[in-house]
Chain length 300, copies 2
């Protein structure tokens, strides 16, 4: 049981965290903090939070756990605002999609209280937002990656892990640097590529003709280009170094594939396509095996 | 009513064409031709075809309409095999994903009978294949693009169009060159990009770690990389010129986006992401409007 949880930003991520903790009976009081009075009033009306704090100082008084679930570009500002009121018994975590930049911002904002900040990233989301989007089961079966700092006490990391576990999430740990490389590869780069393709097509003089013949394959490939441009601009910039590395690797791959295509080297093209198809097939099988319900014990 | 339809290749595409024509009562006899005796026996057993032809010569005797629905790399060979038996009253069409190469192959194979060949491309598919994959409603509401030749008689184009219309498909017409540019852009390039990304990740030393954190966005983005490598190798090579053009355009786009990222130009990144997000949103709205049932006439 966590006595008092404070959530900065009660939208999809923060609101679903609140609903899940409450549903699990894992929390005493939930206090919301946010810049939009309308959103905070709505979160109160929906029963997501018990109170809306009149100030950061009020919110932080006696807090056990603080989750920062605002857009990642605001993390530094929020940490700076709460630092003067951060009591020794409070642990702070976040839900940002990038971690190295958050750690740097936290070190700048918290100074010698940095040990009280445990960086985190729940791997869950959907295309809706705001308090009305918050649902009780967003995190069930989903991974939450924690990237603890050398300064963190084990008990503080455990407190954050226990909260996400109560939400139904599965805890993983990576270094902040590894986290950012991994997500640059499997999430941030695909977003950039999908945005780039749709923008490229939309800027052609015959764009209307092209879109007319785009079908289900195009629809799935570009689904992530329907995500918030502001959010993904921030993520791209926040993870600039790792994303540049992954983009360069991919562009080298395209350059090689272009040469195979230009020279009509069918065997080389098929080798790439076939390796990809098999790797994806193994990945899907691994996912489905992990998601399958455990075999029933039929012994009586 | 078409008296005798001959189908080369009775898998998903050819078999579904047969089932749909039969369901519409639009065909007399359906004759199947194929290289695999097992597949042809299965097509007969499933009632997809009335007869399996013992030879191409037998198949072509008195044929009204011939559909070539074999892998696109076999089109030239099949056309050469049927050319000696092509009677004046027969119209031949195909279902290939590329058209300029098919037209070239048809001109080489058919010579002065080229006017009897009406190139076509039904925009439908799924990830299964073979006679068992054939379904009656594959083409309902889907586009079929015809790319008629200057030598085609209007009545022959109309015969092919009527057959696809009977299957529930909506007829479009483009030049072969425009067709290939359009599909290079909205289909062939996305396939190449998805294969390239999965192969790039699979070849990294820490591929297992990366795949472990890939989630639903990655799954959708790479769905088309689960398609047949052989088929997409053939399509890539068949549409080499147009695909190279689209790939170069896309790589120039990535190069520009990389420069924005490297210089931390958030406004330029957001402009690309935002234009893409809005264009995709308009496209989805247009699709949904086109797919919505017509408003009911409530006047009595």
């Amino acid at each position: 049981m966590i006595d008092k949880v404070v959530i900065f930003g009660v939208g999809l991520i923060g609101g679903s965290f609140a609903r899940a903790l409450r549903h699990a009976g894992a929390v005493g009081t939930i206090v919301g903090v946010g810049r939009s009075p309308e959103a905070m009033a709505r979160a109160l009306e929906l029963g997501i939070v018990d109170q809306v704090a009149p100030s950061v100082q009020d919110a932080m008084r006696g807090a056990s756990l603080v989750l920062i679930a605002a857009p990642v570009a605001q993390t530094g500002r929020i940490l700076a605002s709460l630092a003067p009121f951060l009591e020794p018994g409070t642990v702070v975590t976040d839900a940002g999609s990038t971690k190295s930049d958050v750690v740097a911002a936290a070190r700048a904002a918290l100074g010698n209280k940095i040990g009280q900040f445990v960086p985190g990233h729940p791997i869950a989301g959907r295309e809706t937002n705001g308090p009305d989007a918050a649902i009780v089961d967003l995190y069930i079966g989903k991974k939450t990656v924690l990237t603890p700092l050398p300064e963190n006490a084990a008990a503080d990391v455990a407190r954050v892990a226990a909260a996400w576990t109560a939400c139904g999430s599965v805890i993983h740990q990576l270094s902040a640097q590894d986290h950012d490389k991994v997500f640059a590869s499997v999430s941030h780069l695909p977003h950039l590529l999908a945005y780039a393709l749709v923008d490229d097509i939309a800027n052609k003089p015959h764009a209307d003709l092209l879109f007319q013949y785009a079908a289900s394959g195009f629809r799935d490939f570009t689904r992530i280009a329907g995500s918030s441009p502001e959010m993904w601009r921030d993520i791209s910039l926040a993870n600039q170094a790792a994303l540049l590395g992954e983009l360069d690797s991919y562009m080298a791959q395209l350059t090689a594939l272009r040469a195979h295509l230009a020279s009509g080297n069918g065997a080389a093209i098929e080798a790439v396509y076939s390796n990809a198809q098999q790797a994806r097939c193994r990945w899907i099988e691994a996912i489905e095996a992990a998601e399958a319900p455990p075999p029933k014990d039929t012994a009586e």
